[in-house]
């Protein structure tokens, strides 16, 4: 990338059920946090924040332009304020594109979600095509289950290997003060838990309902260097769509992730992801996804996701710690996972990740996913 975009401040709320809080208050807390860190406000003359990008599904907040009634909370009065109806990583992608386009120099990226106010499965399933897949009662959970079954069967992934992903996630979450679920859990506990949607068990799916918000401030290179001593540079970013109908693709593959990852790596000059990255935050909504997305990201060979988790390379202290924050399996609300990945990677590269810090982290990999069985992926690479 010819010009660089830097992350100058990040913030997140504690992820938990907050039924008594108005959704605008979540947005206010987190946006105020980043704005206080940088001392920036929305300004007309290019000396403050120029625009804001939000992520979130409209129907999650209430029908008909719900976000439109909250833009004022961040101070976007008569300002550029646009919303990406995808996972939060794509809002970061778009915010960075605005800066590369020269259209804005400083962008506030926000994501906020209240799963306690709505049954998110109902909203997610409206993303499925109405003629065939919705009519058989398919939703994102069942689509993931189909993919988990195909992936495990084709590659001989055992239930124990899948359970290890959850154990690792919850163990890592203990070091993360923002995480929702950080209970001590063993492989046996995971395998004993109730079956949610065969073969996915309740403990293997992301906990829900959870409420929370994240925010980041992105800036052009010159401004980033002035705004913070520790800018985190976005070196590569890309998204890619896959087929929609589940029968159209082999669910044991994640071709769109491979494409998105290879484009991002090319932009960033990465050839050996497992060796070159120091930390990775992958959006795994269900346990099998950590293994499958690791393959797509090139962290291991095709079909070797099970061997990867067994090898311990992705544990804290391993060659490439994956999800030191506990990841989505520790409870991240709808549409926030990808943005949370970027926030956590930025904290790692700034050396501000507290007990979950990977020492001396220089390059990080963030990932977001949306759509049934990982139809749309977004990969963002960062370095300090």
């Amino acid at each position: 990338m010819a010009r660089r975009v830097g992350i100058v401040a990040v913030a997140q709320t504690k992820f938990e059920e907050k039924p008594g809080l108005h959704i605008g208050e979540l947005l206010y807390q987190t946006s105020r946090d980043v704005m206080k860190q940088t001392g920036l406000e929305f300004k007309d003359d290019g000396t403050g924040i120029d625009s804001t990008v939000a992520s979130g599904y409209d129907l999650m907040s209430g029908p008909g332009g719900a976000y439109m009634f909250l833009g004022y909370v961040v101070g976007a009065w008569q300002r550029e304020d646009e919303r990406v109806i995808e996972d939060g990583s794509m809002a970061v992608y778009y915010g960075a594109a605005q800066i590369l386009a020269g259209h804005a120099d400083v962008v506030l990226v926000v994501g906020y979600s209240k799963e306690t106010q709505i049954n998110k499965n109902l909203i997610e399933c409206l993303s499925l095509d109405q003629v065939y897949q919705r009519r058989i009662g398919l939703d994102f959970v069942s689509a993931a289950a189909l993919q988990a079954m195909r992936y495990s069967t084709k590659n001989g992934i055992t239930p124990e290997q899948l359970a290890k992903v959850v154990v690792k996630a919850r163990k890592n979450a203990k070091n993360n003060p923002y995480a929702y679920c950080c209970d001590t859990i063993t492989v046996k506990d995971v395998l004993k838990s109730t079956m949610l949607c065969d073969p996915i068990r309740v403990q293997e799916a992301k906990p829900t309902p959870v409420d929370g918000a994240c925010a980041l401030i992105l800036a052009s290179e010159e401004k980033a260097k002035k705004l913070t001593k520790k800018p985190v540079w976005i070196t590569g970013m890309s998204s890619c769509y896959d087929h929609h109908e589940l029968g159209y693709r082999d669910l044991a593959n994640c071709d769109s992730l491979v494409t998105a990852a290879s484009k991002s790596y090319k932009m960033a000059g990465i050839t050996k992801p497992l060796k070159e990255f120091d930390v990775a935050e992958i959006s795994e909504h269900y346990s099998y996804q950590e293994l499958l997305w690791s393959e797509g990201l090139g962290l291991c060979g095709k079909g070797e996701g099970g061997k990867l988790i067994d090898s311990g390379k992705t544990e804290m202290g391993g060659e490439l710690p994956v999800n030191p924050s506990g990841g989505v399996l520790s409870g991240i609300p709808h549409c926030l996972a990808g943005m949370h990945s970027v926030v956590e990677c930025a904290l790692q590269l700034r050396g501000e990740a507290g007990d979950r810090q990977v020492k001396g982290a220089k390059k990080a990999l963030a990932h977001g996913v949306d759509g049934p069985a990982g139809q749309l992926h977004c990969v963002i690479t960062l370095e300090n």
Partner: protein, 386 residues
């Protein structure tokens, strides 16, 4: 601006109708995409990024990009979906412009659609967008919003219902010359003034219809644009100006960010005399009466005097003020897609390709806008040559 300069190399839209029961949503988008590709003489293989959008709740969808992408041939391409109620199409175009200007892609496809024959608009609460707790308890909708706006305009300007009817007749005359427009009714001032009253002073004919339609544009950075087409339409500037729910209709029935947004891009682009420097206007007016106020906000005339221009017969395709030569939104309104239709029409005017509703003379600059919510706008300035 430090990014790439960009141009629109191809535009396409469907023939807008009130019902398209002959196609499903994805097919309708595919029609617009194919039209845009044919216009640019490109194939879908050339496209490397696709930005989509639609006012989903009005159709009863959420995240429909997932199943529309494969139908328009965009599997394996980068992109995502945008939404912002009424200004959705505007945000889709702005996003596409940003992605192209960022130098990340060579051919960006922006597509928006709306298929309003599929849901009774209940999800969108009549499309007015509302704060569920408060104003959502009332049967508010764009009809009532514009009833209030027009009432405020009439009391401040002294114009009469007859002037409002003149605006509607002008739009109909323009729409009759646009093969893509939906409503072509052969209206007279008398017919409009005697039409069914929805909420005074808005009559049924004043409001935009429900439409099923789709539109697409293809945007390229400078070097690529010059290779693809001999008539690129340069995108000089764009600005999204949302007020984010700051004001309800009760607090300010004239709330609108259009004047502010136009002043901002005029300043950035050196426009000091809009009437002379801009030759084509495609401004989003959800009710025909809104044209009066928008003409003033974009700088064509002094505040609260636009109705005099209609009285003097100065507004029309071949007249002094060629405002909404396509017939505007009152003739065609697939909500999420309408701003893209405005950009398409503005681009056609700049190229001289608008056929029967082409404004005569050289069109050096065209202004296109998007409107949504309670006075939110996105404005675009298109240019013939760099």
């Amino acid at each position: 601006m430090t990014g790439e300069r960009i141009a629109i190399v191809g535009v396409g839209q469907t023939i807008h109708k009130s019902k398209r029961t002959d196609v499903n949503t994805a097919e309708m988008c595919a029609e617009a995409v194919e039209a845009a590709l044919a216009d640019a003489q490109l194939t879908i293989k050339d496209i490397d990024c696709v930005i989509l959008g639609s006012f989903e709740p009005a159709d009863g969808y959420s995240g429909p990009d997932k199943f529309i992408i494969p139908e328009i041939g965009c599997v394996g391409k980068a992109g995502f979906e945008m939404q912002n109620v009424g200004t959705t199409g505007g945000v889709v175009c702005a996003t596409g412009f940003n992605m192209a200007a960022a130098g990340l892609f060579e051919n960006v496809l922006c597509v928006a659609w709306q298929k309003m024959d599929e849901a009774a608009g209940a999800f969108g609460r009549g499309g007015g967008g509302a704060n569920e707790y408060w104003t959502g308890q009332f049967p508010m909708s764009p009809i009532t919003n514009f009833a209030r706006r027009t009432y405020a305009y009439m009391t401040r300007s002294g114009c009469t219902e007859e002037h409002l009817a003149m605006v509607r007749v002008k739009q109909d005359q323009c729409a009759q010359r646009n093969k893509y427009a939906q409503l072509k009714l052969g209206l007279t001032v008398e017919k409009v003034m005697n039409d069914f009253l929805l909420a005074w002073p808005i009559r049924r004919l004043h409001m935009c219809p429900t439409t099923a339609g789709s539109a697409a544009i293809i945007v390229c950075p400078e070097k690529r644009a010059k290779k693809v087409t001999k008539k690129p339409v340069w995108v000089e500037d764009w600005f999204t100006c949302h007020q984010g729910g700051a004001l309800t209709m009760a607090e300010d029935p004239t709330a609108s960010t259009l004047a502010y947004a136009c002043q901002k891009i005029y300043k950035r682009c050196g426009i000091t005399n809009p009437n002379k420097q801009i030759q084509a206007w495609e401004v989003y007016e959800p009710a025909s009466t809104a044209e009066l106020r928008w003409m003033e906000e974009v700088g064509i005339c002094e505040d609260y005097t636009a109705w005099k221009l209609f009285e003097q017969g100065k507004v029309g395709i071949e007249k002094e003020v060629p405002f909404n030569p396509s017939g505007g939104v009152t003739a065609t309104n697939p909500i999420g897609c309408t701003p893209v239709v405005r950009v398409v029409e503005a681009a056609l005017q700049v190229r001289g390709d608008a056929e029967e509703h082409q404004i005569p003379g050289t069109i050096n600059r065209a202004l296109a806008t998007a409107y949504g919510g309670q006075g939110e706008n996105v404005v675009f300035l298109l240019k013939k040559s760099l």
